[in-house]
């Protein structure tokens, strides 16, 4: 049975079904549905909800809960996510799995509360200090908000890494029917972890940290992290291809702009333009090889984003100047329209 839900609520349901034990958050638009919903729901099912004194406190509470092996998450929107970056870097270094949700708004600075995709660089290139990456999911429907929140925890734990859902104010607040197609995970079903802090009963004490002062130890840990990121890059690329087989123009787009781009592809096809869509479902690791495999002779690429050109840089990196790459985007105001995309396609 399907249920009509907002994206932000569907995300909560996915996380809870995955066994979310503890949520910590701080108010900021356009993600307020998440803490509001969880403040009731988590208590009803005997789990933890705390409204923190700041986004910084919230992510540090996540660190504390997650270091004991619990599934923990926080959510925020762009400026709040900037505040969390120091601790996300710690968690990458300490190898603590957890879910961070960014329902993006317009920036820079306080910007506005309209949907935006301007935090791509921050999300996929590390975000905080030091050499690290986090897995970044980009759902483009309310159904995917549900499914991604559920699946995110498994990947976070598989690789012992913080992961992020990079969404936006429209996906977060729009309503669509959701099929609850995931099976509830009970706490005891979750895999026993051999690194968590749960009291040193019948074992040696453990410490979880990112400080490695002795000579050579930090480099050793960094190499381990890089090997892990390589493994993730090889195994976790996820994307959708739409009408790309015979296309001579390929749009690359994710999240809310991929919904508009897909409509534009359909419309353009009716007007005789051979265009297709590549939509990364996971932004890091980026589908570099897939973009490259689409680079046949005379194929042009167009990256459509609610930014002034961020993912387009990864598209260019994939192609290494083999094809021409154009960009269409804006941020801080209205959405891109199908007509704008088609007008752009006509110029290519």
């Amino acid at each position: 049975m399907k249920k009509l839900l907002k994206g932000n609520i569907a995300l909560c349901e996915g996380a809870i079904t995955a066994g979310l034990k503890s949520y910590f958050g701080y108010p900021i638009t356009p993600q307020n549905e998440i803490p509001s919903y969880l403040s009731k729901k988590m208590l009803e099912i005997g789990r933890v909800f705390v409204q923190a004194e700041s986004e910084i406190a919230a992510i540090n509470m996540v660190l504390g809960a997650a270091v004991t092996g619990a599934r923990a998450m926080t959510s925020s929107s762009s400026p709040g996510i900037s505040l969390k970056q120091e601790t996300i870097s710690y968690m990458a270094g300490m190898q603590i799995p957890a879910l961070i949700v960014n329902i993006q708004r317009g920036g820079p600075g306080l910007g506005n509360i309209s949907a935006s995709q301007s935090d791509y660089f921050q999300a996929v290139k590390g975000g905080g200090h030091g050499d690290y990456r986090i897995i970044v999911f980009a759902p483009n429907s309310v159904q995917e908000m549900y499914e991604t929140a559920y699946d995110a925890f498994d990947l976070a734990e598989k690789y012992r890494t913080p992961v992020m859902i990079l969404s936006d104010g429209i996906i977060g607040q729009m309503m669509e029917p959701v099929e609850f197609n995931r099976i509830e995970k009970k706490e005891k079903e979750l895999k026993e972890k051999d690194w968590i802090l749960n009291g040193c009963k019948n074992r040696e004490p453990r410490s979880v940290k990112s400080l490695f002062m002795k000579e050579g130890i930090l480099e050793e840990n960094n190499i381990k992290l890089q090997e892990k990121y390589k493994l993730i890059s090889e195994n976790e690329v996820k994307y959708e291809l739409y009408m790309t087989e015979d296309a001579n123009i390929i749009i690359t787009s994710y999240g809310i702009s991929s919904r508009i781009s897909k409509s534009a592809v359909k419309l353009a096809r009716r007007n005789g333009i051979k265009v297709g869509l590549l939509r990364p479902k996971i932004l890091w690791p980026f589908p570099y090889k897939i973009v490259d495999s689409l680079a046949k002779r005379n194929v042009k690429f167009l990256s459509v984003e609610l930014s002034y050109g961020q993912m387009v840089e990864d598209v260019k990196l994939s192609l290494n100047r083999k094809c021409s790459v154009e960009f269409l985007g804006k941020a801080g105001g209205e959405l891109i329209t199908e007509e704008e995309i088609i007008n752009k396609l006509r110029t290519l």
């Binding site: 004194e53 809960a65 270091v67 004991t68 601790t87 749960n198 009291g199 410490s207 979880v208 990112s210």
Partner: protein
């Protein structure tokens, strides 16, 4: 022959990296003794700070986690809310708890999180080379107050126990010192009581331990002990600031 004093089980058999004469070693030992005596080693999860005590993970013989600078009360909140059956304490310095982490400290106290905080006040940032701390005394010379702390420019030493005592949520706040054996005994009693309060579910406790930083203060260890007695505790009076549980 009977052995009457040995290393606490909760302290690893390793050398401490603290400077000669530093008070951290005494405070570590007191904490380890209290944890042994309360038989809570196997359910303890400690949060170490950024600062001199960043190496506490290497010395305590129970589970420990790192925390970003100033955030141990938030990290401890996450641990304790998720695992109310565990024993959770943070170990923090003056810069960590009362400068960068003031918001986390105030709000953990205000929510009356059922955690214990051991706050080591040595009136300067020891790890980074003796800069002014929020608790640096008026007129005290530090690496960043070469002419002495001037209240017109640098404000006043923050008395954290007194500040937190105004919050309904704080339960037990005491200021102690480790400058002589008598006060070390008082310190141990206070820390043990704070730990017991957490075991009994009473809520937020913080023990502020006045400690010496002879290197940071530019003194010999003996001079620094004398300075605590003659100057430091005149500005930071010792005693129970609040005990709501009585």
């Amino acid at each position: 022959m009977k052995k009457i004093l040995s290393r606490p089980k909760s302290l690893k058999d390793t050398n401490l990296s603290y400077c000669p004469g530093c008070g951290h070693g005494i405070i570590h030992r007191i904490i380890a003794e209290c944890i042994d005596e309360l038989s809570i080693k196997e359910k303890t999860i400690a949060v170490a700070p950024v600062g001199c005590a960043v190496f506490a993970y290497d010395y305590f013989n129970f589970d420990t986690t790192e925390s970003p600078h100033g955030r141990p009360p938030a990290v401890a909140t996450g641990i304790k809310r998720t695992n109310p059956d565990k024993f959770v304490f943070t170990y923090q310095g003056d810069g960590d708890i009362a400068a960068i982490g003031m918001a986390e400290t105030v709000h953990a106290a205000n929510r009356s999180e059922n955690i214990s905080i051991i706050f080591v006040n040595n009136a300067n940032y020891g790890m980074t080379g003796g800069q002014m701390a929020p608790t640096t005394l008026i007129g005290q010379i530090t690496a960043t107050t070469p002419f002495g702390r001037d209240t017109k420019k640098e404000g006043y030493p923050i008395k954290l126990c007194e500040l937190l005592s105004t919050l309904e949520g704080s339960v037990y706040l005491e200021r102690v010192s480790i400058h002589n054996p008598k006060n070390i005994i008082i310190t141990k009693k206070a820390i043990k009581k704070a730990f017991q309060y957490q075991i009994d579910g009473k809520g937020f406790s913080m023990i502020e331990v006045i400690s010496n930083c002879s290197v940071g203060w530019g003194m010999s260890p003996l001079e620094s002990i004398k300075w605590i007695e003659e100057v430091f505790i005149k500005s930071f009076p010792l005693g129970v600031i609040k005990d709501k549980a009585i």
